[in-house]
């Protein structure tokens, strides 16, 4: 039991290191240097450049800076943001909770809606309608969904506030905006799985035992349909984290997305690296959870 866990943790650390290193190299290869990024479109004189280089110790070779970064990261020190002049842990820490809250709520809403759509909309014409709606949702940019939802439910009806991370009401519209495309994708995968499962011999057996169709669907077919859906969900968490950028912009919400975009566009290396490490960590955790979920869902995997 201990061994596989150790192997997993080891692999996780390796993934984190690889992600951080790749991000470091990518930023190093990007045109312009850190000094350019800090100067922005402001005054640019040799004196100003010299001071910036001195302040951030940018005169050291890239390898030394990289080693220094790794050494401090291992000790829990992620450094200071070039742009925001605050400790990275503080910059990111403050934005983590709103992002996770939004991602979790959106995922919850998306899963629930997908289950309802896949299980309830079984009649042929309802299926067609549902399936078309799902496709439309998946192919509409979240930005547009957000603006439309805002216009109707915030600006016109006044049910929900437009902005911020202030209580449950402010979470509703962004969570729906993010959850809808997930529900669309997930419902399609679930429905396919259900259809396939219902044609399997075990479904025929179940029916022949006199079970009602509904019961066959929920108690037998759903378990089979869940496997690909769980894989899908692991993937969509990644999409969720990426999608927060636009949602935050539209809804004026705090969160990691805005911080990341700002950090990348201004080559704010410490923040970018911290975000990459964090995202990689989240991915490792989610993948582990999905693997465990497989075991729960499918007894055959437990034996092997």
């Amino acid at each position: 039991m201990i061994r596989p866990i150790l192997r997993r943790v080891g692999a996780g650390v390796l993934v984190l290191w690889a992600a951080a290193t790749a991000a470091y190299l990518a930023l190093l290869a990007a045109p312009g240097d850190t000094v350019d990024a800090i100067i922005g479109d402001g005054a640019d004189t040799p004196l100003i450049r010299a001071q910036i280089i001195q302040e951030w110790h940018l005169d050291r070779p890239a390898v030394v800076q990289y080693a220094d970064f790794l050494w401090r990261a291992v000790h829990g020190d992620l450094g200071r943001s070039y742009l925001l002049q605050r400790p990275v842990a503080e910059v990111i820490g403050g934005q983590l909770a709103p992002t996770l809250k939004l991602a979790a709520t959106a995922a919850g809403f998306g899963i629930l809606l997908a289950l309802v759509l896949a299980l309830v909309a079984r009649r042929p014409w309802v299926r067609r309608l549902s399936s078309t709606t799902e496709l439309v949702l998946v192919s509409t940019p979240p930005f547009l969904i957000g603006i439309v939802l805002l216009s109707v439910f915030s600006f016109r009806l006044g049910w929900f506030p437009v902005s911020g991370d202030r209580g449950a009401a402010a979470l509703v519209l962004p969570a729906i905006t993010m959850g809808l495309p997930i529900a669309g994708t997930l419902a399609q995968v679930l429905r396919d799985g259900l259809d396939r499962a219902l044609e399997e011999p075990f479904a025929v057996t179940a029916r022949s035992r006199g079970l009602r169709e509904r019961s066959v669907l929920v108690r037998h077919a759903l378990k089979h349909a869940l496997l690909p859906a769980v894989t899908m969900l692991g993937w969509s968490f990644g999409v969720l984290i990426g999608g927060t950028v636009i949602i935050e912009q539209v809804f004026g919400r705090p969160g990691l997305g805005q911080v990341t975009v700002q950090a990348v566009s201004s080559s704010d290396l410490p923040v970018v690296l911290a975000v990459v490490i964090l995202a990689a960590a989240v991915f490792v955790v989610i993948n582990t959870v999905t693997d465990l979920a497989y075991l729960l869902i499918d007894p055959r995997l437990r034996r092997s």
Binding site: G32, T45, L47, Q51, E55, L83, G164, S267
Partner: protein
């Protein structure tokens, strides 16, 4: 020696400004909100979340309205190009122009309880000169500062290495604002600013939620507003929240649905949504500093030839492209200096006209007489191509769209091939450093246009992208800051504009940058900051009951 004249005239100007509600003739909201009342809390949606709340680190004109809620400067600008007392009651300049003596107001306290005095002023400047703290301020605004002398508790003297009238602009600027010496010593994140930095202003910044909002509470002890602030004593509002909403349509929706009472940044495309109802007012203010312009890179072909520079200007029908992108909301610029500056040379207006026939004739004359299969002009088999590199993070006012409009216009009118590159900051800086560009676009919001010109036009200027170096131009720039006589400065800058705009055609001025404020008519006191032309602080805002 010059002294303040805080006379009837400036008070009248201040009153007029407040009543008019804006500096551009559009209707303000004051008339509808009735007489000022104290109390209430207001929410204002702004486009830009400041990178820093430390005024010394200020670099975003869009953040200026927040600075003056918490912090104050020694002087402030009137709307005539002059200065009014603020934390200083007056100043004197020595005859050689190298010593500026400021008499400080007494009885002023920082919100952390500390006393504002000459030692505090010195502490602030010492901090600015600390290595690695504010290199831009130390290298530009304070480059001529020699020493700071504390004469007594309420007198401080700035000794300069050489005469530099821009020191007055500095002591009126956010970078010159006074931060409590205690905060300077103790703040953990000094350069980021925020609640731990105390100022003397009418509000106290007490809560900042990154990505969401910043909240200010009234400073009840406040009693030292400048003469043009609209009233005296504490602010009217008990509290004000600025919410960061980057999407303009979301800001407008939040306003029209009553979730916020004021917004700034209303693009032309969204104006009708605000003005459609009777409940909201819209006001525009023109910014100070340099106009948004295209600067020609004279270091290499084709813009090393003045004929081609003139041809490019004639090839572009500026009002047509401005109308296409901004409808009728943009104010055309004619000079490198913005039209609201006291140094603006009005005689430049109409100097070139967007005459396509003349453009083509000039290009023929310059040797770009042949055309290739795609209709672009060529010379010795080389196409007339010019590159404009825009740094995406700094593109505002849809300047990328404007560039496309310019591209289409000059292609059609004169066969000039403009290549617009919208790139990241690193790539843009690299292109500029390597000289891989022919057009450079820029506007600066400096309150004294001279500060902008020093950076943009001086032969060693920090953002001189024209590559044009001339002793005459440098001398004009030097002379213009060596005297405190405003009429003399205006004369010098007039000559400079003739040289740069008319004779050398170094620049194609496009429009005067502006800010817009839309407000519910229940909000009174909405105004633009005199001279700067950006939204003012919350000091004089009130909510009618």
């Amino acid at each position: 020696m010059r002294r303040f004249r805080t006379t009837f005239a400036s008070l009248l100007a201040a009153t007029l400004l407040v009543v008019a509600g804006c500096s551009d003739g559009s209707s303000g909201s004051t008339a509808d909100a009735g007489a000022p009342v104290s109390g209430g809390s207001l929410t204002w949606a702004v486009e830009t979340e400041p990178i820093t709340f430390n005024p010394h680190q200020y670099a975003q004109a869009k953040a200026r309205l927040l600075v003056w809620n918490t912090f104050e400067a020694l002087l402030t600008h009137d709307d005539q190009g002059g200065y009014l007392p603020w934390l200083a009651t007056g100043y004197e300049v020595s005859p050689d122009g190298k010593a500026y003596t400021f008499k400080l107001r007494t009885g002023v306290t920082f919100s952390d309880g500390g006393r504002f005095d000459a030692a505090a002023v010195k502490a602030n400047i010492d901090q600015l000169l600390t290595p690695n703290y504010a290199p831009t301020v130390a290298g530009v605004q304070l480059k001529n500062l020699d020493t700071v002398e504390v004469k007594d508790d309420s007198t401080v003297v700035l000794h300069l290495k050489k005469p530099d009238v821009l020191i007055l602009d500095f002591v009126s600027s956010p970078q010159g604002a006074q931060v409590s010496p205690k905060s300077l010593k103790e703040a953990k994140n000094l350069k980021a600013g925020g609640p731990e930095l105390a100022g003397t202003g009418p509000f106290v910044l007490d809560r900042y939620t990154p990505g969401q909002e910043v909240h200010f509470t009234k400073n009840p002890a406040y009693d030292w507003a400048p003469a043009n602030a609209g009233h005296t004593g504490p602010a009217y509002l008990n509290e004000i929240t600025y919410r960061f909403l980057k999407e303009s349509s979301v800001r407008v929706g939040a306003l029209t649905s009553g979730q916020v009472q004021v917004i700034e940044g209303v693009p032309a495309t969204d104006e009708s949504l605000v003005t459609a109802g009777r409940d909201f007012s819209l006001a525009r203010g023109l910014n100070s500093g340099s106009a948004y312009s295209y600067y020609f890179n004279t270091a290499h072909a084709p813009f090393d030839d003045v004929l081609v520079r003139q041809a490019f200007r004639e090839a572009l029908d500026v009002p047509a492209v401005l109308n296409g992108v901004y409808r009728s909301t943009a104010t055309r610029a004619w000079s490198v200096i913005g039209p609201t500056s006291p140094f603006y040379d009005k005689s430049l207006e109409g100097g070139y006209s967007g005459n396509a026939a003349k453009a083509n004739q000039l290009l023929d004359q310059a040797g770009w007489a042949t055309k290739d299969a795609e209709g672009f002009r060529t010379k010795n088999g080389k196409r007339l191509t010019v590159r404009l590199v825009q740094s995406a993070p700094f593109v505002r006012d849809r300047r990328d769209v404007l560039a496309q409009a310019v591209q289409a216009a000059v292609k059609q009118s004169a066969g000039i091939d403009v290549q617009v590159q919208l790139v990241d900051q690193g790539t843009a800086t690299k292109a500029l450093t390597d000289g891989e560009y022919e057009l450079f676009d820029n506007s600066r919001a400096d309150t004294d246009a001279g500060a902008a010109l020093n950076l943009l036009l001086y032969s060693t200027g920090a953002i001189n992208r024209t590559g044009y170096k001339s002793p005459e131009l440098d001398k004009l720039l030097d002379d213009a800051v060596a005297t405190t006589d405003r009429a003399e400065r205006a004369r010098i800058y007039q000559r400079l504009q003739q040289l740069v705009v008319t004779e050398q055609a170094l620049v194609l001025p496009l429009y005067a940058p502006q800010d817009q404020i839309a407000a519910s008519k229940t909000v009174g006191g909405v105004a633009f900051e005199p001279t700067a032309g950006v939204p003012g602080s919350a000091y004089n805002l009130w909510l009618s009951k």
